[in-house]
């Protein structure tokens, strides 16, 4: 089966990036966040090494606040595809019961995502780390290299990035330094969806519209995924046709009203959208330059 030209080019570029890491890294790992971008990245990794299995593990940083359907999907996918899956939760955060509702989104993200990621990378000694971030997502990501160098302590210095010419990726690092690698850098949200449709890639059912219990907060639809979401006085969950454009921690990711229940309908909706997907990500709105600051501290 020949794929369409656009996806063949993007796909080939991503495969080249993934293979380059496998050929040069001491101990690579692929971050697996269970979302649509991770699903595409996973398929590209399968393609890069076919018929061999993926020669590195996948790792999920579990904040403890992922939608239940995501965790079920994660475990099912790992079982079916047979890749090595590492999961990690920040033990300090878990012990102290840190969550987005009690501690606020900024602190929760900092401890359960950024700090957890750094702990997990140090624990396993991973040197090259794949992430599914795309340049069209957010302004500071648009500025980042495909091979993004991190100094000791996982810090990103946006003002001193290594030049990155042609498809020649400098993979040399000193002890303690790491590299974040973004094979999907040049993909757009529309590319991801059209590729998922073309390749029939399985994704978490939350991306499709279904009747779900939600509450409306600050004009956004928040899913009542389990008993941990405290309801405000007078707040009553209502059933609405809701789907998600992007998936993160459940109280921090808002759904949208939609009747798109098939991939074709979802793609049609995305192509006609007039807001960006990260609008549903509450952590991005923590202040101007918040993504850049989080990235400097080691966030993906």
């Amino acid at each position: 089966m020949m794929t369409s030209d656009v996806y063949s080019e993007l796909e080939s570029e991503s495969i080249e990036i993934i293979r380059e890491v496998a050929a040069t890294a001491r101990k690579p790992v692929m971050l697996y966040s269970i979302g649509k971008d991770s699903s595409v990245m996973l398929r590209l990794a399968q393609k890069a090494f076919y018929p061999a299995p993926i020669p590195f593990p996948l790792m999920h940083i579990d904040t403890g606040w992922k939608f239940r359907e995501m965790i079920a999907f994660r475990d099912r996918t790992a079982r079916q595809l047979g890749f090595q899956l590492i999961t990690y939760t920040n033990p300090r955060g878990a012990a102290e019961g840190i969550g987005p509702i009690t501690h606020g989104s900024a602190y929760h993200t900092d401890v359960m995502k950024t700090e957890a990621l750094k702990q997990a990378l140090d624990l396993h000694g991973f040197d090259f780390v794949f992430g599914g971030a795309r340049r069209d997502e957010e302004k500071s990501r648009a500025k980042e290299r495909i091979f993004s160098f991190r100094a000791v302590g996982h810090r990103w210095d946006p003002k001193a990035q290594r030049p990155e010419l042609w498809n020649l990726y400098n993979t040399r690092i000193n002890a303690g330094e790491t590299v974040r690698v973004f094979p999907l850098s040049n993909w757009t949200e529309a590319d991801i969806w059209q590729y998922i449709r073309q390749e029939n890639i399985p994704i978490v059912p939350l991306y499709f519209a279904a009747r779900r219990p939600v509450v409306n907060r600050y004009g956004q639809w928040i899913l009542v995924d389990d008993h941990r979401l405290p309801l405000e006085p007078g707040e009553e969950p209502e059933l609405r046709m809701i789907r998600f454009r992007t998936l993160g921690c459940y109280p921090l990711t808002a759904g949208i009203e939609s009747h798109a229940t098939t991939l074709d309908e979802v793609v049609a909706e995305i192509l006609g959208a007039n807001t960006s997907e990260r609008q549903g990500r509450i952590i991005d709105h923590d202040g101007a330059g918040s993504m850049e600051r989080k990235k400097q501290e080691g966030y993906f």
């Binding site: 293979r19 076919y50 061999a52 990155e164 042609w166 020649l168 400098n170 040049n186 101007a288």
Partner: protein, 606 residues
Amino acid sequence: MDTLRFITCGSVDDGKSTLIGRLLYETKLIFEDQLEALKLDSQKFGTQGERLDFALLVDGLQAEREQGITIDVAYRFFATPARRFIVADTPGHEQYTRNMATGASTAQAAILLIDARKGVLTQTKRHSRIVSMLGIRHVALAINKMDLVNWSKEAFDEIELAYRRFAQDLSFETITAIPVSALEGQNVVEPGQVEMPWYEGKTLLNWLETVPADQGEMNAPFVMPVQWVNRPNLDFRGFAGRIASGLVEPGDAVRISPSGAQSTVKQIVVYEGLQQTGAAGQSITLILADDVDVSRGDVIASAAHPIECADQFETDVLWMSEHTLLPGRPYAALIHSKSASVTITHIKYRLDINTGAHLAARTLALNEIGAVTVSFDRPVPFLPFAENKRLGAFILIDKLTNDTVGAGLIRFALRRASNVHWQALEVTKSARAKLKHQEARCLWFTGLSGSGKSTIANLLEKRLHAEGKHTYILDGDNVRHGLNRDLGFTEADRVENIRRVAEVAKLLVDAGLIVIVAFISPFRSEREMARGLFDPGEFIEIFVDAPLEECERRDVKGLYAKARRGELINFTGIDSAYEPPLAPEVRVRTINMSSMPRAIQRPRKQ
């Protein structure tokens, strides 16, 4: 639908970011929530008063928004019914030229902005030369801010003429001049006929939709560098890579470089199964009919057009580091999938950005372009950059910091290496050493001036000589009287100084001698280079470790005093760095002179 990757470049404040913002806005690629954020940002950081400041859409780093400048390249995406676009908005400041080159290296076309009030500036020329050097063949000259010159045809014509005159010696196939106002929107997406009825050409978007994206790699012979050998089990051995040019089909005869082995393509494997054709740009896995030896960095090519190998090249280099290029210093290099160690053996000239003149140079500084000879430590498969970008481009990497410091393009191979053959000799190094009842060694003393290197080296040689060993001392000062009398004390000369001495020491070790080298040799890179010339165990690095204050107190030759008075520049420890060894075989601490006779006991025990 194809994809065009292009850049916007030009001098600072020529309106690059504003132009991209305008393109995204008018092609309806800005979402409502992004527009809301832009309105807020425009009030906070904007430079356009009440109006939207489109530059803020692309200047995504906090430092950029605060300073109102572009530091690094930003990638944005948009599409029209005709084409998909990836645009790299590159910084205009000279200081950030390497980021501009990063964006330009993957582009197929360039929009070069010029401020209609300022005309062709030095930075316009610098960017033009880099764009031309990196192989971009089609350029739109967007003469911007036409609103500020009263939409004047004369102003436009004058700039276009000046630019075409300048660009004569560059290798552009087409230059299309378009008068625009990125701020007001004329001739970006919508034509500006009301303001400029005299202009009947394309709008910028028309140009982008029609400029050729194909770079001819489809019609060239088949070439694929091997990126990864896929070997999941004994029955499967595939060579994975991205096709650099041409087409490949099962049954095609291929030749491997550098081994020269021949085979035929048996299968083209992709995830979906077997594929009948592989084409330029695709990542595939090849199975060959024969059991030939192929590793990462080798190149598989059509047997009718095999790929040559060479180890000496004439190249164009853009230098991207604050630390100047040092001829003779070993750098790491990456060319397609092949890693190697290289040295710059000669700088032919440095390019004058303004005039294109060839200037004599002994080094290249940050953002300078030069023609240089590069020597690889092994033969590598290559094609000239002009023929095939993927086989002719390389990067240079500092071996200690691992920073990417240079971008290189192969012009052609110098045939010297293949013409000067190594003469195999029958009397060997070990045979020569055996006759002298010893093993050949290089004892390399490094340390500050006045630390005691020469004193200890001299005592050591006397001792070895008394025991009947055959020795020779290469002393820093002595060698500078003869072999190295043409060298000074700049960083570049120090590197060459050590390179020559290391080569001489190697010859003497080959003669079976115990060679004692006593040189300050301040840089780790060059000591590592020297070590690399010898067999394992042959090179013994001895760090003569004395504190700077102690060396300065001794000041045997009065040099520290001179340096402190400013009469001597580039003096190690004072205004030139000393990089102490991290893991020397021997460390000798010389706190006072009386300890020196005892010091020579230690190397003998090694």
